[in-house]
């Protein structure tokens, strides 16, 4: 058997660190949440904002949060609204109550989310994402749809060192594995 304590051979076990939780950087699945994909014309944004209880963002790469609900700007007429801790279909009901023309699709079970929190979180995501994640280009509250390795994600910066990665559930194994790998590299 090879000498394990030799300084020249720093051996890494094939499965070392697969917990996805490095000393300072945690990659954890998020709690279930209600999500809707919302499309609407600009003249109907105000009524939908009032019905949802938050201001739907109209600037690129911005989000708005209020009372556990977060609206992510995805495109000029497209938002992803997430209601954390909501049971049932509160977001859908709120949109119906707005009374204006819109398209809302419940995608609660299409997506799942991974939280990346701790020092080096941006570097871990940059393992598979080409975005500039400096605080200047991607400040707290910034969000966008982008690409992570081979899968599409919606990325939200929830803090200076914390991100929420929304990914389609069938891609979540891949996304989690790549994030955990990136986290290992980022904290090495």
């Amino acid at each position: 058997m090879a000498e394990m304590s030799s300084p020249a051979a720093a051996r890494t076990l094939a499965l070392s660190g697969v917990r996805g939780r490095a000393a300072s950087l945690a990659v954890t699945p998020a709690a279930p949440a209600e999500r809707i994909s919302l499309r609407a014309r600009s003249e109907d944004v105000a009524a939908l904002s009032a019905a949802l209880g938050l201001e739907l963002p109209t600037r690129p790469k911005t989000s708005a949060a209020n009372n556990g609900r977060t609206a992510h700007w995805l495109g000029p007429d497209e938002w992803l609204v997430i209601g954390e801790g909501e049971k049932g279909s509160g977001l859908m009901a709120a949109c119906v109550a707005s009374g204006v023309l819109h398209s809302a699709v419940d995608v609660s079970h299409r997506n799942t989310a991974i939280l990346v929190e701790g020092a080096g979180a941006a570097a871990a995501i940059n393992a598979g994402c080409p975005l500039d994640l400096s605080l200047k280009a991607f400040p707290v509250g910034a969000c966008t749809r982008t690409i992570f390795g081979k899968v599409e994600i919606v990325l939200l910066r929830t803090g200076e060192e914390s991100f929420r990665v929304e990914v389609w559930r069938s891609f979540s194994d891949y996304a989690y594995a790549l994030l955990a790998e990136g986290a290992l590299d980022a904290t090495f």
């Binding site: 690129p60 790469k61 495109g75 000029p76 080409p130 966008t144 749809r145 982008t146 690409i147």
Partner: protein
């Protein structure tokens, strides 16, 4: 990595987020059922495939999802300009769109006989 300016996201984003979507500014004939087969082929199949400055549609598919127009140099692969879909074709400052850059066999090799 090639950066492409998305006119809807208003910033430069990685080429990985984009997809090419064919030549831009091709208007669908109004009375498409009445045109001849040749005219339909011209509209539907035939493209200029210009060397140099070309106008193309691109889609920010892994971003805002929007289609937009781009002026691109097919020789250098540089994006010269991007602008929102639906806007009229616009000239690129300092670049001639009418320059004959297509090399044919006759031009480069002379008389084939």
């Amino acid at each position: 990595m090639l950066l492409i300016h998305c006119p809807y996201c208003e910033e430069d984003r990685s080429e990985l987020e984009f997809r090419w979507a064919g030549e831009a500014h091709i208007a669908r004939p109004d009375a498409i059922a009445d045109i001849t087969d040749e005219e339909f082929a011209e509209y539907f199949f035939l493209r200029n495939n210009e060397k140099g400055l070309t106008y193309e549609r691109w889609r920010h598919i892994h971003g805002c999802g929007r289609f937009f127009n781009a002026a691109r140099d097919t020789v250098s692969d540089r994006f010269l300009m991007t602008y929102k879909a639906g806007l009229p074709k616009r000239p690129v400052p300092g670049v001639s769109a009418t320059e004959k850059t297509v090399e044919t066999y006759e031009q480069t090799e002379g008389d084939a006989r």
